[in-house]
């Protein structure tokens, strides 16, 4: 036991070391999460698995925002939970400052979680209705008392309220006394309480009204600069992701289809799924509708319990050929763009990757 605790302390020491701007702070390698499907009551027999996340790899750099987009059921939220170690990964690694957090437990995991915080989608269900705002934002301090000594907490919470643009006098109010946008601010304040380095935002603005969305987005950008945060920003709204992200990853059926900088993804997409997704986004400009080309996919997303062989997108893809059914395309710079210095040369998991501009230049 003594041996283990010194190990924990070594981990904790490693976690306190700062990471330089632009260096990877989180490295995800081959992350998988399969949920078992069982049959029978007494002797549960596994009859299959829902492959919610099936081999995802990416890096998060210090100080950047990585957007993850995809349709519902593509595994975005499961990735978020895996990064927090709220779900145990089936396979793969998540390196935070060189530590594989999927293998950690106990005190070492607690130390990691202090630095990785989460903001949830639904501000109506993610705040306990029986706790005051002060208790909600102060709760992280109960778990990590080293961050704020007991006598200092109330002041700390009021500071946090001020930081997210709420009146510090609201500390004794209950969540139902706030509007949706204000509640999301409370959620953000709770995420900030422990001075984390990474915040994972799972659809933070999709439940908010349009005019309030912009306020929350602006707040998040301001906080990123102020506290030097790295964001993983998960959303299904491609326009918002473009606005806030430095790099964007597109997920489809548990896999990363394409990943690159926001310019590479939005202006030079090479994966057919990204192209279809982008072309389907309604542009708030009636002038554009006459000459906008749209790719309308047929059918629905296949079940992750029984994904198609080869490329998982082939059942809805207009380019699909025999090769797509047999060979799983790897996420890499497509061969035809290798060595070229074009924005199209970024990671794309397609056998027939080619550039196609679908977003009207503005």
């Amino acid at each position: 036991m003594a041996d283990l605790s010194t190990n924990d302390e070594a981990v904790a020491a490693a976690l306190d070391a700062p990471v330089g701007r632009g260096e990877p702070i989180l490295q995800v390698r081959g992350l998988k999460k399969h949920f078992p499907l069982t049959q029978g009551i007494l002797f549960k027999k596994q009859v299959g698995a829902v492959k919610a996340v099936d081999g995802v790899s990416f890096d998060l750099y210090q100080g950047e925002t990585l957007g993850i987009v995809g349709e519902s059921g593509c595994g975005k939220s499961t990735v978020a939970k895996l990064l927090m170690n709220l779900e145990r990964a089936t396979a793969g690694e998540v390196f935070y400052k060189g530590q594989d957090i999927t293998k950690l437990s106990g005190r070492a995991l607690k130390a990691v979680r202090r630095n990785i915080q989460m903001v949830f989608q639904d501000p109506y269900t993610s705040l306990n209705p029986r706790m005051t705002v002060g208790d909600i934002i102060g709760e992280p301090f109960d778990i990590h008392p080293e961050v704020a000594p007991k006598g200092d907490r109330r002041r700390k919470v009021q500071e946090l309220l001020d930081v997210v643009g709420l009146n510090p006098e609201y500390i004794n109010r209950y969540p139902h006394q706030f509007s949706g946008g204000q509640r999301q601010r409370i959620g953000i304040a709770r995420g900030l309480a422990l001075n984390p380095e990474i915040i994972i935002c799972d659809e933070p603005v999709s439940a908010l009204d349009v005019s309030v969305q912009a306020q929350v987005i602006n707040l998040m950008e301001k906080l990123q600069d102020e506290f030097n945060l790295s964001y993983v920003f998960i959303a299904h709204d491609l326009s918002i992701v473009r606005h806030i992200s430095d790099r964007v990853g597109v997920m489809y059926l548990g896999k990363m289809a394409e990943i690159g900088t926001d310019e590479q993804i939005y202006e030079h997409p090479t994966h057919p799924y990204t192209q279809a997704l982008l072309s389907a986004v309604p542009v708030p400009d009636p002038e554009a509708r006459a000459h906008r080309e749209r790719i309308i996919l047929t059918g629905d997303v296949p079940s992750p319990a029984n994904p198609p062989s080869g490329c998982s997108f082939r059942t809805r893809c207009w380019k699909a050929q025999d090769k797509c059914a047999t060979e799983v395309p790897v996420l890499a710079v497509p061969q035809r763009f290798q060595g070229e210095d074009t924005p199209a040369a970024h990671f794309s998991a397609c056998h027939f990757a080619e550039e196609k501009q679908v977003v009207p230049a503005g």
Binding site: Q182, S211, A276, A280, P284, R292, I296, L297, T298
Partner: protein, 351 residues
């Protein structure tokens, strides 16, 4: 596997057999009597829809857009809802003065509605064939067998694959997009003159949203129906609407043909909304945000309801409610179909 096509240009509004608009809402008021007081959800709304035309009603939650639609449809919960004044004219007849019997004949047959959340709008314990067939059994007195045949036809019409095999499936066995198609099929069953779609694609993914909106537009063209599209999504509106009514705190603050509205908004709220949405084709530095919150309907600000959030607000805005007045060019030339409820519309539109 997919259809790549150009989006159709705005179709010219087509006139029906009768003169005048298909539906006309005149000075409609709706209020809800609650324990905390009277919430005025709709305060004098006017709009009209012609056959073959798409009117988009745009607004945030609590702006009264859905309540207006429910009043038109006659499905408002009364009490606590109450319509103290106003007229809803369908083909020139005031529906609010009709008996419940007469209204029932119009509802579903002449005016149909598509709801946002298909899963909670469909009955989970009845198969979709039965629910689709109900329209024919109740309104046309068809036999169960004939109604089922009709149901299959309808499912084909809205492009549900293998309609014959799936007609006996239950709502939970369909995906979100397919369920929304069933809702559309149900609304279309009796070939109504007017369809009210309340956030028809909000719960759907973008790729499916595009499929559903396309289907709706296609069917509208085929049957020459009027369509009222209620939404908060400025992108969807730009894609399908002919004209737009922007609502705020129970009033229409701006009315305009779709192209005009996006080019030159004549109300600070519309302008704020347009500036506050991130664009796919643009990457700006900071988003413009409308400050403050939508008002509480129990205590709407005096004067213009938008004044506490408005960058242009002046003394007059805090005392006088601006009327919805026609908007003109700088030289006084008419701008057909444009109206704004702002004391300073001239400054807003002409800069």
């Amino acid at each position: 596997m997919s259809i790549t096509d150009k989006t159709a240009a705005v179709p010219a509004p087509r006139g029906g057999d009768h003169t005048g608009p298909l539906l006309e809402v005149k000075d409609l008021h709706v209020e809800f009597h609650t324990r905390d007081g009277v919430a005025k959800a709709v305060n004098g709304v006017n709009y009209s829809v012609n056959a073959g035309e798409t009117l988009a009603v745009l607004g945030e939650s609590g702006s009264g857009k859905s309540v207006t639609a429910q009043a038109v449809m006659g499905i408002l919960d009364m009490p606590p809802g109450k319509i103290p004044q106003g007229e809803i004219l369908f083909r020139g007849e005031d529906m609010l003065k009709m008996s419940e019997e007469e209204r029932r004949k119009i509802r579903g047959r002449k005016i149909a509605m598509i709801f946002q959340d298909a899963l909670s709008s469909l009955n989970p314990v009845l198969n979709v064939g039965y629910q689709l067939g109900e329209m024919f059994r109740v309104h046309h007195g068809m036999s169960k067998k004939d109604a089922k045949v009709k149901a299959i036809e309808l499912m084909d019409k809205v492009k549900i694959p293998a309609a014959k095999a799936r007609v006996n499936d239950y709502p939970h066995q369909f995906s979100g997009g397919m369920r929304q198609r069933i809702m559309i099929a149900m609304a279309l069953a009796l070939e109504p003159d007017l369809i009210i779609a309340d956030e028809p694609t909000t719960a759907l993914d973008v790729t499916v949203q595009a499929q559903v909106m396309d289907l709706l537009a296609e069917l509208q063209q085929e049957y020459n129906m009027g369509l009222i599209l209620i939404t908060h999504d400025l992108g969807v509106v730009a894609d399908v609407a002919d004209k737009i009514a922007v609502m705020y705190a129970g009033r229409i603050v701006e009315q305009a043909p779709v192209h005009e509205l996006y080019k030159r908004p004549a109300h600070p709220y519309t302008r704020g909304l347009l500036d506050s949405i991130p664009r796919l084709d643009q990457k700006g530095q900071e988003l413009y945000a409308i400050k403050g919150l939508p008002p509480n309907l129990l205590k709407v600000p005096t004067g213009c309801a938008f004044n506490p959030r408005c960058p242009k607000a002046d003394d007059i805005c805090r005392t006088e409610i601006p009327a919805l007045v026609p908007v003109t060019e700088q030289d006084g030339a008419d701008l057909p179909g444009r109206k704004s409820a702002c004391h300073f519309w001239k400054e807003t539109i002409h800069g």
